[in-house]
């Protein structure tokens, strides 16, 4: 389904890969025809689709026009950086977002609640691109402005890891700022719903400490919507870190998507769609499975 949609969707994208490849270079009509034949673009659309589809079933995603390499290889190469960025970002966002959300709900209407909710709403509304550029300017010389590694770092593992970590700070802060805000707001509202539940009163009546009431009783019941959101977001974000990756030239899938669209590099776009759609499906599945673990009631149903 995804493959069918992707194939025809991207054929509607305006532009002709051969024209954009040869634009501004001395070419002849014969050479353009040769390129078209090489890419199979001279075949009827349905035949092109059939070739692609049968290839896909055998695990062949086709060749990228731009990079002249198998799409699977190109995507795989960019998957690592994206997972690193999105993984770090999500981890921090989950920890920070949930913690802030819980605290804000527990102490609702305090100054802390008002400030965090206000900041979260603001961050959620801020355009990622603008936030990234702003961070880059404000931090000055502290952090590098591009990519994942410096070219002149020593080759040993420790310096390389430190360098990657150093490069990771700004992009992940940018990613966290937006995502954590969302988690915080969801966590806060779902915990607020639980706050008046009678079982909390029971727990307090048993003489439990306020912290324990929160940790053992309220939060486990309220955390479900937030966890669902985390997994859904994670699936989406693998393909959706485009802006963050563009601002910081982070060599991940988002950047690849951006580059592929300028071709348009059909096979690469289709491959990316299959991979990102796959990520969403897998994450949905994981979220469903995890529900059962977190909340036994779901398992029964």
């Amino acid at each position: 389904m995804v493959a069918v949609l992707g194939f025809f969707l991207f054929r509607v994208v305006p532009g002709d890969p051969v024209v954009s490849m040869t634009r501004g270079r001395p070419t002849t009509a014969a050479m353009q025809a040769e390129l078209r034949a090489q890419f199979g673009l001279d075949r009827p659309l349905l035949e092109q689709f059939w070739t692609y589809f049968t290839g896909l079933l055998q695990g062949d995603l086709g060749m990228s026009y731009t990079f002249r390499r198998p799409v699977a290889e190109v995507i795989l190469e960019r998957l690592g950086p994206t997972l690193l960025l999105v993984g770090t970002g999500t981890l921090i966002a989950v920890l920070a977002g949930l913690w802030l959300g819980i605290r804000a709900a527990w102490r609702r209407d305090t100054a802390f609640d008002r400030v965090t909710t206000g900041v979260s709403l603001t961050l959620w509304a801020v355009p990622t691109f603008w936030l990234g550029m702003l961070l880059m300017m404000v931090t000055g010389d502290l952090f590098p402005s591009r990519g994942m590694r410096d070219t002149d770092t020593a080759p040993d593992f420790f310096s390389q890891a430190l360098d990657v970590g150093h490069h990771l700070v700004l992009p992940s802060i940018t990613l966290v700022a937006v995502v954590a805000a969302e988690y915080m707001l969801v966590m806060r509202s779902s915990l607020l719903e639980e706050m008046h539940a009678p079982y909390l009163t029971t727990a307090r009546a048993k003489g439990l400490r306020d912290d324990l009431v929160r940790r053992r009783h309220a939060v486990p019941n309220a955390v479900l919507p937030a966890i669902t959101l985390v997994f859904l977001r994670f699936g989406l974000v693998v393909g959706g870190a485009i802006t963050t990756e563009t601002v910081f030239s982070w060599p991940g899938l988002g950047l690849l998507f951006y580059d592929a669209l300028t071709g348009p590099d059909y096979f690469l776009l289709q491959g990316l769609l299959v991979v990102t759609a796959g990520a969403v499906v897998v994450m949905n599945l994981l979220a469903d499975l995890l529900h059962g673990v977190l909340d036994p009631r779901v398992k029964v149903a």
């Binding site: 001395p26 920890l95 913690w99 952090f143 590694r149 002149d152 020593a154 700070v169």
Partner: protein
Amino acid sequence: MRVKLCALVAAAAVLGAGTPVATAQQPTILKVAIVQQIDSMNPFLAVFQSSTEINRLMYDYLTAYAAQDQQVTEGLANRWETSADKLTWTFTVPEGKKWSDGQPITAHDVAFTYTLMMTDEVARTANGSFVANFESVTATDDRTVVIKTKAPQVTMLALDIPIVPRHVWEKIPSIKDHPNDQAPVVGSGPFVLTEHVAGQFIKLKANKDYWRGAPKYDELHFVYFQNSDAAVQALGKGEVDLVNRMAPAQFDSLEGKAGVTRNKAQGRRFTELLINPGAATRTGEPIGDGNPALKDVRVRRAIAQAIDMDALVARVNLGYAEPGGGLVPPVFTKWHWQPGEQEKRRFDPAAANAALDAAGVTRKADGTRLSLRLTGRAGRAYDEQASEYLKRSLGEVGIALDVRLVSDNQLNEATTAATYDLAFSGWSTNVDPDFILSLHTCSQRPGADGKGGTTDAYFCDETYDRLYAQQLSEFDEGKRVELVKQMQARFYDQVPAVVLAYDNALEAYRSDHFARFTTQPAQGGVIMAQHGVWGYYGAEPADARASAAGLSTTALVVGGVVLLGLVVVVFVVVSRRRATIGERE
């Protein structure tokens, strides 16, 4: 929870403080920001400007263009002669030039490269047009290459084809599947490729045995930026040493910045406004939906006359351009043409109004004569600003503009399908004007299926085509220059497009790291995107790289401050916990 957060913040701080410390004994590196994609390092496949520029550093061509004045000079070959019928060219590859693996460079390498392109379809992907007219290429001995062409070809000294080593490439089974980025990449240029990480960087090291002499520094790194604002910031911070393709506003932002020198150079690009002259295919079938009124050359001239190009350059290009004229930019002094006093169309709305009246395009009741679409690229500052400007000035002469700013691909699609009235376009030109002139011949229009065309202006003019054919077989340079100028004059007179401006190339470099770069041409030339290797090859490091140490010290100081702040935060949190302990228990 608190403990976890603190740990996280601490981890971030450690990373922040961990700026790699640059030390003096490290090799001298020139770091260049590239804001364009890299497609491939395989010289037969690479088509993007940035990739071909790097390929040029790895592989010499048969001939080169001098840094001083862009005249043809020694490349791999140092002598060449042509037969009386101009069909046979003999090039001599002198002794003593070596591949980076120590093997001698011979005529067989040249013959191998060209023959491969003639026989293997994939190998002519990038530069096939240069060999399209070749009959045969043979190496008669180690020093002599003989090229026979089907028809006389005036561009034989402008064959921009990287020559590859035969002993390496004849063992490669499939050109298509060879990324050519695994060291060692055997080359002949001033630099040798050592590492390419897609989407991140490309590293080259100096070729100490380069036949012109070794470069004056050790390594050349190209780092990839998706976003040119970030590249300009990185230059300001000293992360990179050289940036080009800056927008006028970015260029201005670096004015007076310590340690940064700007280079405003004559570029080889021009911006033009296409006026659909009644697009047709190669066989003369009309295509697209251009406004029929534009078929009248008087209307096109009137449009050109209603545009104040000086004002456009001053306000939209912020002065970083020269007002347009002929098709060849002024950086190519020899071929460049500017209209003389009589031919020149001066900005004159009144005359344009009168001309439109005379052409029978009269004003309707609402005061307008025509309504035209103006297609441009969304997100390109020039198109956005210039379209507003054109809307006003063409409004003066009764032409209403419907501005449509679309994506790059949509713009390409509109121009290749001729579904535009007016559109912004632009081209990069080469040392030899053949390419830019050929674009406007009748045969460059698309075929019956709408494909295979390279023009976007759909010009088809007998006089122009005749002159084009003449200059293509004119081997007397003085006479050819004359013909090329006549062609530009004809183009200017018939206005299928108005050349609005010759854009300046805006570059900047860290003059505290690198003292001097060789520009091409010597006067007002560019450092990057040259027709040659001179900019990178001729770079001279500054004596003291003092700033490197300074940078890391600041980083350490700031890192220390961050850590100190953390300690304070932890202290506050802990003391608060203590204070509320009674409440919680």
